[in-house]
Amino acid sequence: MSWISEERLKKLAERFGFIKIVDNPQASVIEVPKENLIDFLKFLKEDEEYQFKMFIDWTVIDHGKKADPRFQGVLILMSPKNWERIIIKVWATDERLPSLIPLWKGAKWAEREAWDMFGIKFDGHENLVRMFLWETYPYHPLRKDFPVRGYEEVELPSLNEKERFDQLEGMMNYSRKHTALPTLEDLEITQKKRMPNKKSQMVLNWGPLHPGTHGTIWFLFDMEGEYIKDCDIIIGQLHRGVEKLAENLNVQQIITYTDRMDYIAAINENHSVCIAGEKLLGIHEKIPEKAKYIRTMMAELSRINSHLLWLGTYALDLGALTMFLYTFREREKLMDIFEGITGARFTINYFRVGGVYADLPYGALDAIEHFIKELPERINDYETLLTRNRIWLKRNIDVCIIPEEDVYEYGLTGAVARASGVPYDLRKIDKYDAYGEVEFDIPVGEKGDSYDRYLVRMEEIRQSIRIVEQCVAKLRKMSKNDPFFYEPEDKKMKITIDGRGTKLKKGEVYAGADNPRGELGVYIYMPKDGIKPYRFRLRSGAFYNLQVFTKAIIGRPLADAITLLSTIDPVVGETDR
């Protein structure tokens, strides 16, 4: 696991007397006083030896009403020099924290989210507005004193169902009360606050229900003729509070909710939670070999599935309708395979903390081999249609360049980071599951334009095929009686396939998987052993990747918005959580 090395951490503690190293076996955590935070981070970011310049996540923990101070900020950084991580915690006295925007521009949305969810003010933030909820919403839902069901205070008579005058009873009846909903005025206020200083003549609204936005994203473009001068994005239409829900569930139940985040690559979302849960329990090395290979294989198939959908819709957006039909033909076969193995086509829920819930059914490997064998030829077909087509080149080359510094500044991950020349891939860095044992290359782009992002994803499909081939070969050699789920030797540890009684251990951990849309990291904080996680943070790759849209689009014509959005490829279920 790639955490800052012991010796470097000690050196750091010697140099800065105020650092407190938290005793935590699963991750390297330090506590820093609020006054020293900015100077210390500046050192960490700029010092030659450490170079923790990549922003990963910045969030808050609520320690409950009685604790003083109540809130604690959690910052996760990555050093691209040594490929190692560090967690820095800081107490938010007076419910205030210093803003990190001068150091990392990516902190902007993270801080808005923390304000929205916890009500923490950030000193020095340029426009601290809410991230997901509308501006006039009175609560901060991730606070521990906010009930899971919310406050049901609006009357919606349509919820109460009557059939032919009979009053329905029990389960068939629904309460008339509903939690708060935004009205049109609320939305208008929200929109104005998001873009307080109009720079030019016209603000163009794009979305939230536009087919080109691939979900419910609402864009605000400040336009000067055809060119975009300023941009902000209103998301949250799909916000369901998965983090809040997770605090009231056991870890196997949370996996079902992550299915509904990035629904295009549900398997990968499940994977992240499993990796984090296993790391926290310290069993990640004891997972049965078979489960590891099945998971790696399924995760890569899911990546192919996701990239096929991306390619189809991306080409469709740029006017190549045929591509969409071709990729969906291939995708359909993959969905069939998923349906046969896991029982669902879309919301998979196949992985468990500790393995998978069932072995492969008869014939699964044959179907996968069959599919993998004919896929390379199909991809060549796609490439003859697109890669060197002059329209495609014109619409992609040098469009919306994302430079390498922005990858670090905004915490970009996945294909977007790799296209800008940063070989950041958790599969290589963390080597979770069987990724340490299979061979594959990381595709890396040159300058970070849309064309590079396209090529990187195309190459990723090819590399995924390579991984799947190796996994199938390895699985073929195993026995049908090999276990697919981890049985703890330790009597005190309880892990079940159905999740009843699965217990988490005290400690904190940050782990994740490299998903088709970037790194979905899971940060779990447990002050004591228990079934429900105390704080369950989902660091969404799509969320941070979408943030760079607001910068990369500046100065580009409106038509490029489609290209950029498609090549960033966010899924609203994951950005909104």
Partner: protein
Amino acid sequence: MGIKKVGLNRNVRPQTLAEKIFFLDFIKGLKTTIKHLFRKVITVDFPYEVVEPTPRFRGVHGLRNVDGTEKDDFDAWVKKLKIKPPEKGETRCIACKFCQAACPVPDIFEIKAKKLDVPKDHPHYGLKVLDVFNMDLGKCMFCGLCTLACPTICIIHTDIYDLSTYSRRGWVLDKEKLSKIADDFIARRGSEKYDEKSEWPDYQRLWNEADLARAKAWENNPPKLGPNYADQT
């Protein structure tokens, strides 16, 4: 780390002058699309053609009845929960509520057992039977955790996916409806999914190979299913 560099001039050649002048890029693309013109249709014409869901498919729930294929510890469970030993054709449910405990949305279930009203000398005195079992499938997300938790393999997923009704009341299924769904399913496809001890056998197939609609989606060239592992037959 294995790194592969991609980009124009790296793994993609830029267009040559000849390609630009003679529109060779378009001609190549047209070749691909024309090739597809002669392929067979792959669209499954729903609802006239229906793909049969796979054996593992997680559809509408059912409650299985006793039919002689219970697990070995079934009687022990019945005894432990003080349930009247069920006859053939009666429900397997022992009202243990494990399904509800595993479910992420527990208010889907309403499970109640009642004491039998029999005199003291009756052999069933003091035993219980299942009284109410309602499921509100409008709230269900078909995750399958309840079916994994059930100790008697009573609650199962069937292959029914069409759950549309005119009002939400249609989504609330009671125990009679659930039992009927399960009976139908077991009669139709039980042997595909379960062995004689109600476990998932290792001959359980990825999907039914005789399904023509699925074969059509696979361009009439579906994979031949065989054993996965070296020691599987």
